[in-house]
């Protein structure tokens, strides 16, 4: 699942090869914004069957690829 999550994050962020380090701050780097977050959640729901409640999701919970993977690992 980790590979698929990373694929989704890379696709949404339009990240270049090697740009997506596990602890990269995605919002600070300008790779994630409100639209990208919604798009990512729709992809997680469609491809992985995992729904996250956007209203309770805090930016700091999904600010790095490692945090996103950890969060989804905990929910799945």
């Amino acid at each position: 699942m980790q590979t698929e999550i990373t694929e989704i994050i890379c696709g949404i962020c339009g990240a270049e090869d090697g740009e997506l380090e596990p602890d990269l701050e995605l919002f600070d780097a300008g790779l994630l914004d409100s639209f990208a977050v919604v798009q990512m959640l729709v992809e997680f729901e469609g491809r992985l069957g995992i729904s996250l409640d956007i209203e309770t999701l805090r930016r700091e919970d999904i600010s790095t690829p490692a945090k996103i993977i950890g969060l989804l690992g905990g929910v799945a």
Binding site: S34, F35, E55
Partner: protein
């Protein structure tokens, strides 16, 4: 009487906060006293303003809607939408009365903020985040005195977490220290600094002329920031003393590198409310239903709807509506530039270019606030 203005207000509030401080220092629960504090302070302020009856009517209306909706067994989309429209009706009436002079009698301090809190509860009930709100907790949330008149707009479940938890003596001492500090710094910024800017910069300016307009634009931007950030700080400080950690409303907005960054730093509780309950819901619905060929179209239309709502929320007069449209346009252009010029992302991270972007963004923001001020239209 206006909250957080005038010696009499602070004298009354100081006296009213004292029993809460004693309870907090003894490590006792603050919820019931907080409710009493809210009821007494609202009664004093709204009685003085002649709006007490209207506040009671508004409160009963929103409570009946929220509790009634929570008890509906089959919560269809139509019933949900009807409940939201009904919840927004008093706000619409007050906003319309500000535009049409013959209706000017209908005014209610803080209605924009209290309405957004009620709508949020309705959405939470519909989404299943909240099942059956309790009358006292819901009343406390909707009317919470420190943020009743001008925010910050809190979240229901976060608020419940705070009021149902008793801070220990040490934790309360820290809350009290921070609360007092925020009240003092807020008063300095919201009353002293903004008052000086108003009296010595804005008021002496002539009504017409390009240079006076330019000066007004800078002065008004600073005035509004110090005034509103100061007010928010005072509200947050008072809430801390009652054991409630209201969300922050400002985070160095004039350091924003672009408009998206700006809206993550300015009037944060409103912008995140609109982001979560308007923009995100629209975009998510559009992406799932595949409404648009190009996914980004959903985002652009989402911004237009969100900022139109933001403008109308401030008021229905042309300056507010144009202000909303102006920011919708800026956000769409910002998003398009980010999308088509990937190098912009790296450019904004450079030390010198970030300063340059902050100066440019500040000017776009200031021009927006000049529109907002009503000096242009």
């Amino acid at each position: 009487m206006t909250p957080f203005e005038g010696l009499l207000f602070f004298y009354i509030m100081g006296l009213m906060l004292l029993p809460g401080v004693i309870l907090g220092l003894l490590g006792r629960p603050l919820k019931i006293y907080g409710l009493i504090f809210t009821a007494v302070m609202l009664t004093i302020v709204f009685y003085e303003n002649g709006q007490l009856l209207l506040l009671c009517g508004f409160y009963v209306w929103q409570i009946v809607l929220c509790l009634g909706f929570s008890r509906v067994k089959n919560k269809t989309k139509t019933i949900f939408r009807a409940a939201v429209v009904l919840s927004l009706l008093p706000l619409l009436a007050v906003k319309l009365s500000a535009v049409f002079p013959e209706l000017r009698l209908l005014q209610l301090l803080g209605i924009s903020y209290m309405t957004f809190r009620a709508v949020q509860v309705l959405i939470d009930i519909y989404d299943g985040r909240t099942e059956k709100p309790r009358l006292l907790e819901l009343s406390y949330f909707l009317l919470f005195f420190p943020s009743a008149a001008a925010g910050p707009i809190d979240r229901y479940r976060r608020f419940l977490g705070d009021i149902n938890r008793t801070p220990g003596k040490e934790e309360y001492c820290e809350l009290l220290r921070r609360g007092f500090w925020r009240l003092m710094t807020g008063a300095f910024s919201g009353i002293a600094v903004s008052g000086i800017i108003w009296a010595y910069w804005l008021e002496p300016l002539p009504g017409g002329g390009f240079m006076a307009g330019l000066s007004y634009m800078y002065g008004y931007t600073l005035y509004l920031y110090f005034n509103f950030a100061g007010y928010s700080s005072m509200a947050i400080g008072t809430a801390y003393i009652l054991g409630v950690r209201l969300p922050e409303n400002f985070n160095k907005p004039f350091l924003s590198a672009d408009m998206k960054d700006f809206w993550a730093r300015w009037h944060i509780s409103l912008s995140t409310w609109l982001r979560d309950y308007v923009y995100t819901r629209f975009v998510m619905g559009s992406l799932k239903a595949k409404r648009f060929k190009n996914k980004r179209t959903a985002s652009y239309i989402g911004y237009i709807i969100t900022f139109a709502a933001m403008g109308a929320w401030h008021g229905l007069s042309p300056n507010y509506l144009i202000y909303g449209a102006y920011h919708a346009l800026l956000m769409c252009v910002n998003e398009a530039l980010d999308l088509h010029y990937k190098s912009m992302r790296k450019f904004k991270q450079g030390a010198v270019s970030r300063v340059l972007m902050a100066v440019v963004t500040f000017h776009f923001v200031s021009f927006g606030l000049l529109i907002f001020s009503g000096r242009l239209v």
